[in-house]
Symmetry: C2
Subunit: 290 residues, 2 copies
């Protein structure tokens, strides 16, 4: 059992779920827990950027991460303030640099990511220029990570309709975030990394969601060289990962996985005979849109 992470979900937080009554398959009256989604409107300086549906557990980090992953906030920007109003459900990010993304906001691409399935401006803006640091992924770490992630507390088992992402180092998850939108979870981790000055070079990113073009682009923007999912790939996701040398590992279940880009970083040091098959409860917990 891993110890507590730097950040992990609190399924007992009453703000994140609601009890509602209904009928079950026998016609009996039952009570069910459902995940709460709330609108959060994001401003960058004077400009309204977007409204996101989120569980609203970490509005400041979601705002920062969203702006970073949309290329509207730069790593070297001085953030002079982040004001969150819980009544209005509005978050305002202020920067020393004057910003205006009117033109960028006009161009919209709906990607196949969950929730924030939208990139403003050119999705591939300066993507080709990105480079990722050399790194290694030991398969012994990979199996250790999956095991650790599977034992973390999760809103999914409480109420479902949740995606999760983990920022990891070697065989240990450091930060695990969940949201109704998979991309909210990614962006909250990006915001946490920006706030804490976390070095991406030796990190590994794990997502419950699919390895789509947008997921690859966000991981590369975050500067993380290794991306792991138990879900599947899209062809464009694989293409982009190969273009910048991101290590892309998917269909990760039990001892099985498939690596379709950046395979050279993988060190096959695990004793597969010692890796157990997965408990279906965990298998269920991670690769789904439920």
């Amino acid at each position: 059992m891993p110890g507590p992470l730097l950040v992990q979900p609190d399924p007992s937080d009453p703000r994140l779920t609601r009890r509602v009554s209904g009928l079950d398959h026998t016609g009996a009256r039952i009570e069910a827990s459902v995940t709460v989604e709330r609108p959060l409107t994001l401003y960058l300086n004077g400009q309204e950027i977007v409204t996101m549906m989120t569980i609203l557990d970490r509005p400041e980090e979601l705002a920062l991460g969203y702006l970073l992953n949309q290329g509207m906030l730069r790593r070297d920007d001085a953030v002079t303030g982040i004001d969150y109003d819980d009544d209005l459900q509005v978050v305002v990010v202020r920067t020393a640099r004057r910003t205006d993304y009117e033109a960028k906001l006009k161009k919209k691409t709906l990607t196949s990511g969950c929730a924030q399935g939208t990139a403003f401006g050119d999705l591939l803006e300066d993507f080709g220029e990105r480079t990722l640091p050399p790194a290694a992924l030991r398969t012994s770490w990979l199996y250790g990570l999956l095991k650790a992630i599977n034992t973390l507390p999760t809103l999914y088992l409480e109420a479902g309709a949740i995606h999760g992402c983990a920022l990891c180092k070697a065989d240990a998850p450091l930060v695990y975030m969940e949201d109704v939108g998979r991309h909210n979870a990614v962006d909250k981790i990006a915001g946490w990394m920006f706030r804490t000055g976390c070095d991406p070079a030796d990190k590994i990113f794990y997502t419950t969601g699919r390895l789509t073009s947008e997921m690859v682009i966000k991981t590369v923007r975050m500067g993380i060289p290794i991306l792991i999912s138990r879900s599947g790939f899209t062809a464009w996701g694989v293409e982009l990962a190969r273009e910048v040398g991101l290590t892309l590992i998917g269909r990760c279940k039990g001892k099985r996985f498939v690596a379709l880009a950046g395979e050279e970083r993988i060190v096959f040091d695990a004793d597969l005979a010692a890796v157990g098959e997965e408990n279906p409860k965990h298998w269920r917990k991670n690769g789904r849109d439920a």
Copy 2:
């Protein structure tokens, strides 16, 4: 085994998947099929609306359904042309009515739906005014539907990273569409219904995805009184369904389900003893983001 539907996926279509090489968990070189996602840019008359990532199997119906579900195309609009250019991957929808959604396009909400997780303008525009027809859902139909859907050909088993939606009547699926984005699949069905003049009043909608606010709003826009998923609910999805009396059934697995809105439409006529538990292969096939 159900006969062929009016529309169903063709997993053998070479345009929908690509073979790529990589390594498996033993370090052996393997070939894997991955789902193709392609950008499709949509114009309404002179105006660029959006670019979507899609498997691009039915661009015309995706375009129509997207515009309908965004409230940019009205049921009574005369569509004077739909031109799709396969080289440019651009689709232009022309209407007799002059349209200008500049203002609407400025306001963006990122919802927790997959892919097209974006609604322009007011997400709830005239939502309250909608009413749904009376209808009945026999649980015997429900179990028949799940069984039929589970035996349909699917890109998911071929390449993963796919969501599916079915338009059904009584115990029979009529149309089954898949896409990298769950909302593309929904919109393609909406477009098909518009084109064929399909009456929504006696239909049942099935999705592999979550029952979020956006999914509920789209089903209501389509005029379909019953929405079924094997995935989970969000609190706002339940709230909106109750507001307009949509029958909302989720966590539908084997003989189990939970109904959290519009329960009065459900007729519990199935012999539960005769309903088998599900084959995990099918269970896996439908409630996931893989």
